[in-house]
């Protein structure tokens, strides 16, 4: 009988290991860019003006990757509009980057849902998206005054996240 107890000794750790797999979301990913310098970029906006990340140093930046065909980007856009109005005086800049989209469709989206006036940048070949490790849209990066990525949301931003993270960015020193 004592020998049969060995079976429990072998079985329990194996089963526990597999059981620990529950509750994990195998598709939830942690970005390696957190608390690192945000990759530099210079992209042209829909109005054909060049915008670089370096030019925004000193101000908190909310970098939002989106597309007109993505359903949840519609909801997110409304929250971003609210946030842009709320934090306009604090110098927070929202920057949008198109992901696999055409300028025509993007403009149509903005006409329909409202352009917040912040720069909307074209990203040919998705080079900047790859640079930031974007997996799918929407994804949003919260960058502080020194250009360090402090937070990343995968999926649409919610008012809660905006209310939490933007003040955090404002609190950081330049």
């Amino acid at each position: 009988m004592k020998r049969a107890l060995w079976s429990l000794i072998i079985a329990v750790p194996l089963v526990a290991l597999l059981a620990a797999g529950f509750g994990r979301d195998p598709s939830a990913i942690v970005s390696p860019l957190l608390n690192k310098q945000a990759p530099e970029f210079t992209l042209r906006s829909l109005d054909n003006k060049p915008v670089s990340l370096a030019s925004l140093r000193g101000r908190p930046v909310v970098l939002n990757f989106w597309a007109s065909w993505c359903l949840s980007c519609k909801d997110e856009h409304a929250y971003l509009l609210d946030a842009s109005r709320a934090y306009a005086a604090d110098g927070v800049t929202i920057v949008g980057v198109l992901y696999q989209d055409t300028p025509a469709d993007a403009r149509a989206f903005l006409n329909q849902y409202g352009s917040g006036g912040w720069p909307q940048l074209r990203d040919p070949g998705q080079r900047t998206a790859i640079d930031y490790g974007v997996v799918k849209v929407p994804e949003t990066y919260f960058i502080d005054r020194r250009g360090v990525i402090r937070y990343k949301t995968v999926g649409p931003v919610t008012p809660d996240v905006l209310a939490q993270q933007i003040p955090r960015l404002l609190r950081t020193a330049a």
Binding site: A11, G21, F22, R24, D101
Partner: protein
């Protein structure tokens, strides 16, 4: 109506399975024949009930009764009838119902065949099989219930996953695999029963062997069918991607193969009993583990069914089976642990031991790689992937070694081999292997990995054929039979051995096909307007135009592509992108010209194969697949995202849209499918009972006119 009825039927089956299992187990303890009879009746009743449940589900699917949850999940009025029927196993709950049905069928067949034999084991075998059935029925009745009522019933459903209704092979691949997985319950049950009673004797071992070989054949065919499905349907040009669901199908196969070999050592020398038992019990455990891994959401896979409550239940059952198996093995370790002995270090027994080592090593590696992402995250929080680069790196060397072993093993005799004698047996095969490599090198074939594979294949083939020839020669020397008679009788007398050799040859063909197709694939891709052509590796592909076609459940956007090679017209092909309206999903469907099936089919159709075969003279391999993929339509919009569906609404001048065509030339892939069939055939042959007829001469005396009577013992003089 169907939903509550189906649910009740399953509940009834569950109750009967539990009662039957208990009754059978008690029958074993008490030696009660009447209790055992009740247990058997319960098993038959379970089959009837589960069959009824399957029947109800099929009726619900075909009549589009969307009040049944499973039908609401996978049914659709637009899906063609064939795919509606096979959607029985398209999703999680239905596939578990199918599993339970196959298990009940296997149980019934087994009990009927052996109703008058193995009386000691019958109660426990019945008990174990009914207990496993009870588990699956519990899952169907509870967490994975396909018979839930949906109210109000929707008007239509999404249909099965687009990938699963894209090709008729979906009707063959899962049933073959399931017959393999489920079938492993039987040798497991026999093993458990024999350990409960004492230790397995020779006749029980033969029984386990037979009932391990049957699911092994199904698994082999199912794995090959899955590879073919991946190749011909998924459109990426490959047949194996080390996806977790592929890995879990091959692990029980490897372990059962190891079992079939170690069993032979046990038969001859009465050693390795515990090891052999562990192997066959692990095979069943691995098939359960595989089901768990791919259905619980714990590991990400293209086959992943959604996360559900089924996961923890499966894990619990797995734990129970694991503890029971280990417990029994430990408890019986004295009976199983007879000390072994060998007459020599170099003999077929040790070759089989090495075979086992390598097969178990590959299995463990595949298991480790498959669960490693889970392990890393749980133990360290790291997120990693483990894919083809890892598996290829570790499995291929072990695979090569096994390939060589397939040649060395049959060359070694049982018992003892003198090293000096062995060299003469191996010399001719080595010559053949080296000659193969040198000849291929001279013909211009390159690539070390492929060449070594081909050389090893030559080596193994020569060993195998030399063994068969030697056996025939020996028999003819003893019996003076003609060649065909000797061969026929020899094979019928020893189906195990020759079935095994045939399986080895089949494996060789598969490995040759894999080596060639991995090493010599050619690719080319081009954007074409109608009338334009692209040339890849001697083939010229001309895009003629787009031919969209609306079907009941999907929009088939096919491109007509004409193919020629060295001036010979090979016909017209239609790679397509199939857009399934209900799920808004596009499935890229390739068009494949497969050889050597094309040659064979052409022969039957009266087409002359010589032009194709004459390609050999030009230094081209006639056995290669032409594989066409419609990568994109209207490719001028480079930024076009994937969710905007190309061609969702046909426009005029449809036929003139430009396409991006991907052309793959895959050499010798046909060898894989053919080799798979040979493996299956070999396995089936090995299942045949050995027919050994012996002439018996009876001394007799003539009574009158040609009639003889046998001599009585007292009449026999000298």
């Amino acid at each position: 109506m169907i939903a509550p009825l189906g649910h009740s039927v399953i509940l009834a089956a569950l109750i009967l399975a539990i009662l039957g299992s208990g009754a059978s187990f008690t029958a074993g303890r008490l030696g009660s024949a009447s209790l055992l009879a009740w247990g058997r009746r319960a098993a038959f009743a379970v089959l009837a009930l589960v069959a009824a449940a399957v029947g109800l589900m099929l009726v619900a699917l075909v009549t589009h009764d969307f009040s049944v949850k499973y039908v609401a999940d996978v049914g659709s009025r637009e899906t063609p009838l064939y795919y509606t029927i096979i959607s029985l196993w398209a999703a999680l709950e239905g596939s578990i119902l199918f599993w339970a049905f196959l298990l009940a069928a296997y149980t019934t067949v087994f009990l009927l065949i052996y109703r008058n034999r193995f009386a000691e084991l019958q109660p426990y075998i019945t008990a174990v099989l009914l207990a496993v059935s009870a588990f699956f029925l519990f899952v169907i009745a509870g967490p994975g219930n396909p018979f839930q009522t949906v109210s109000p019933a929707p008007a239509d459903g999404p249909g099965p996953n687009a990938l699963l209704q894209n090709h008729p092979m979906m009707g063959l691949h899962p049933p073959l695999l399931y017959l393999g997985y489920v079938g492993l319950s039987i040798p497991f049950a026999i093993a458990v029963a024999s350990l409960l009673v004492g230790a397995p004797g020779p006749s029980v071992l033969q029984l386990i062997r037979r009932w391990a070989l049957i699911p092994w054949v199904f698994l082999s065919l199912g794995i090959i069918a899955g590879m073919w499905w991946s190749y011909a349907v998924l459109g990426w040009g490959g047949y194996w991607s080390w996806d977790p669901v592929e890995n879990v199908s091959v692990m029980p196969w490897l372990v059962t193969t190891a079992f079939l070999h170690s069993l032979q050592v046990q038969e001859r020398r009465q050693m390795l009993k515990a090891w052999t038992m562990s192997l066959i019990m692990s095979a069943f455990l691995l098939s359960l583990l595989g089901t768990f891994l791919t259905r619980s959401g714990v590991v990400v896979s293209v086959h992943s069914f959604t996360q559900s409550a089924i996961g923890p239940v499966f894990l619990g059952f797995l734990a129970v089976v694991l503890v029971t198996s280990l417990g029994l093995l430990f408890a019986r370790s004295r009976e199983l642990g007879a000390p072994g002995s060998l007459d020599a270090a170099v003999c077929r027994e040790t070759a089989f031991l090495f075979n086992n080592l390598l097969l178990v090593a590959i299995t463990f590696t595949i298991l480790l790689g498959t669960v490693f992402p889970l392990l890393a995250e749980v133990l360290q929080g790291s997120q990693l992937s483990v894919g083809a680069p890892y598996f290829n790196h570790v499995a291929v060397p072990i695979g090569f070694t096994l390939l060589f072993l397939m040649g060395v093993g049959p060359a070694l005799p049982w018992g003892a081999a003198r090293l000096e004698d062995l060299q003469y047996r191996l010399l001719l095969p080595v010559v053949a292997g080296v000659a193969t490599i040198l000849i291929l090198l001279a013909l211009g074939v390159r690539g070390v990995g492929a060449l070594v594979t081909f050389g090893a294949a030559g080596f193994v083939l020569t060993v195998t054929l030399e063994r068969v020839v030697a056996d025939i020669r020996t028999r003819r020397g003893n019996t003076a039979e003609g060649l065909t008679a000797a061969t026929r009788r020899l094979m019928r007398a020893n189906p195990r051995r020759y079935g095994g050799y045939l399986v080895h040859i089949g494996v060789l063909l598969v490995l040759i096909g894999i080596a060639a197709s991995q090493s010599y694939q050619e690719r080319g891709s081009a954007t074409l307007r109608p009338g334009q052509s692209v040339s890849v590796d001697g083939y010229t592909l001309t895009y003629r135009g787009l031919r969209p076609r609306q079907e009941s459940n999907r929009m088939v956007l096919a491109a007509e592509v004409g193919a020629t090679r060295a001036g010979e017209n090979l016909g017209s092909f239609r790679p397509s992108q199939n857009f399934y309206t209900a799920q808004q999903l596009t499935v890229v469907t390739p068009a494949v010209r497969e050889e050597p099936w094309g040659l064979a089919a052409g022969l039957f159709a009266g087409r002359n194969p010589l032009p194709d075969l004459s390609q050999l003279l030009h230094g081209r391999n006639p056995v290669e697949d032409l594989y066409l993929v419609l990568e994109a339509v209207d490719t001028r919009n480079a930024d076009q995202h994937p969710q905007r569906v190309p061609g969702a609404s046909p426009r005029p001048a449809e036929a003139n849209r430009s396409i991006t065509l991907l052309v793959l030339i895959n050499p010798m892939v046909g060898f894989i499918w053919f080799g798979g069939l040979v493996v299956g055939l070999g396995g089936v042959f090995a299942l045949l009972p050995a027919r050994r007829r012996q002439r018996v001469t009876v001394p007799s005396v003539e009574v009158e006119g040609g009639i003889h009577r046998p001599l009585q013992p007292e009449e026999v003089t000298a």
